[in-house]
């Protein structure tokens, strides 16, 4: 499973699953350095942070965002 961290909220990382639905993952089950925007990959019984994948997505979204500003 892949989950994208939307935000931190009261001891949880609120994440978006691949199908677009939201899921809450308790922070104590995640790597300590997890941040909003990270992409989490579930493998071998634990979540791992895929910063490279997140960076790639972020670049794509920034490009789209920058093209939309009115000023």
């Amino acid at each position: 499973m892949i989950a994208t961290v939307d935000r931190m909220e009261g001891g949880y990382a609120v994440c978006e699953k691949e199908n677009g639905s939201m899921v809450r993952l308790p922070l104590d089950k995640l790597p300590a350095d997890v941040r909003a925007g990270d992409i989490l990959v579930y493998a071998e019984g634990a979540y791992h942070i895929d910063r490279e994948a997140a960076e790639e997505r972020r670049k794509k979204i920034i490009a789209l965002q920058e093209s939309l500003w009115s000023k």
């Binding site: 939307d6 935000r7 677009g20 909003a36 794509k60 965002q65």
Partner: protein, 330 residues
């Protein structure tokens, strides 16, 4: 010991004995009696006014300044739509429409159906206070389904750009509809009969996107509203440091009533009579926080909660203000 004796002495002094057979009342007792008679008289007058139908009890309270006068016309409607754990506020005045946030992703399209039921076709101002899923979840669908004139959201450092599909979908829909995004900045515009003031966050380097929440102040005559998105203490401090007009009769408490929002200093500046908290029933985040609720209650006599009251609608005619809720008796 000596001090104790001194202090006690006057209390031990016997009251002056009444001269003659008649017992004279002390000044204090007389005063109390006069007050009692006046209160009884006032109560009688109020009862008679109410009983004879000359002036109903509610009107008397309004005249005495003890109660808000209900609105007689709906020149402004502010709908806090019950979207569960999230925010969505619909504002309508003179046929002009502003929507602040869209709530979270929702398969049942609660917001879209609500807007259609209200006869909304065009949204003059659509504001995303900040790009968290519980505030922009339905934005793509709303932008796709309704005519949107202006879309406003905050700028934030590129490194904190959301990577969620929900954010990307929103931007893609804006692009597909050939729209541009207006970055939030301190500005003012009119919406129907109302004046709208936007305050952009002065914070530039936070990784918490809540800290970039666009603040909206809406003024309609004597009635005013402050919509704070997910503003937390850090942004509250920034707003207070900038000498902005923050006072409002109604506040949408920041960040779903969390413990990191609605500080006493901030509420001192807002001085709300009414507070609205938008959050999910039995949510896992402890919203609203008990201490925050107690703090809000010190200022606001009337607190409304979407999980208890459902959709909460404020109706204003510029002087009077009424509140209607879809659930419960409030």
């Amino acid at each position: 010991m000596a001090i104790f004796k001194k202090a006690k002495k006057p209390a031990n002094t016997p009251p002056p004995k009444p001269v003659g057979g008649k017992k004279k009342l002390s000044v204090k007792t007389r005063f109390q009696l006069i007050l009692l008679v006046l209160a009884a008289f006032a109560a009688g007058v109020i009862y008679l006014l109410n009983y004879t139908g000359i002036m109903p009890f509610q009107d008397i309270l309004v005249r005495l300044g003890l109660s808000e006068r209900p609105a007689t016309r709906a020149d402004l409607e502010v709908h806090f739509i019950d979207v569960g754990q999230g925010d969505c506020t619909l504002i309508m005045s003179q046929g002009e429409v502003m929507l602040i946030d869209s709530g979270d992703r929702d398969e049942s399209n609660t917001v879209e159906r609500y807007l259609m039921k209200q006869g909304v076709k065009r949204i003059n101002y659509l504001i995303a206070t900040h790009p968290h899923a519980d505030h922009i979840g339905e934005m793509a669908e709303i932008i796709g389904q309704f005519e949107v004139d202006n879309f406003i959201m905050p700028r934030f450092p590129a490194e904190y750009t959301p990577t969620t599909q929900v954010y990307e979908n929103m931007l893609n829909m804006l692009s597909a509809k050939d729209m541009t995004v207006t970055p939030s900045e301190d500005s003012e515009f009119t919406l129907g009969f109302c004046k709208v003031q936007l305050y952009a966050s002065g914070i530039k380097d936070s990784e918490n996107l809540n800290d970039y929440s666009v603040i909206v102040r809406l003024v309609h005559g004597a009635n005013s509203f402050l919509f704070t998105g997910d503003c937390e203490n850090t942004e509250e401090k920034d707003l207070l440091s900038r000498d902005l007009k923050l006072d409002a009769k109604v506040i949408k408490a920041g960040h779903h009533g969390s413990y990191t929002s609605s500080s006493a200093e901030f509420l001192d500046a807002v001085k709300p009579d009414y507070a609205v908290i938008s959050c999910g029933r039995n949510n896992d985040y402890g919203h609203p926080n008990d201490a925050t609720l107690r703090r809000l209650k010190k200022y606001a006599d009337n607190i409304y909660l979407t999980p208890r009251d459902g959709n909460i609608v404020f109706i204003s005619d510029g002087t009077g203000l009424s509140v209607e809720c879809s659930k419960g008796k409030k």
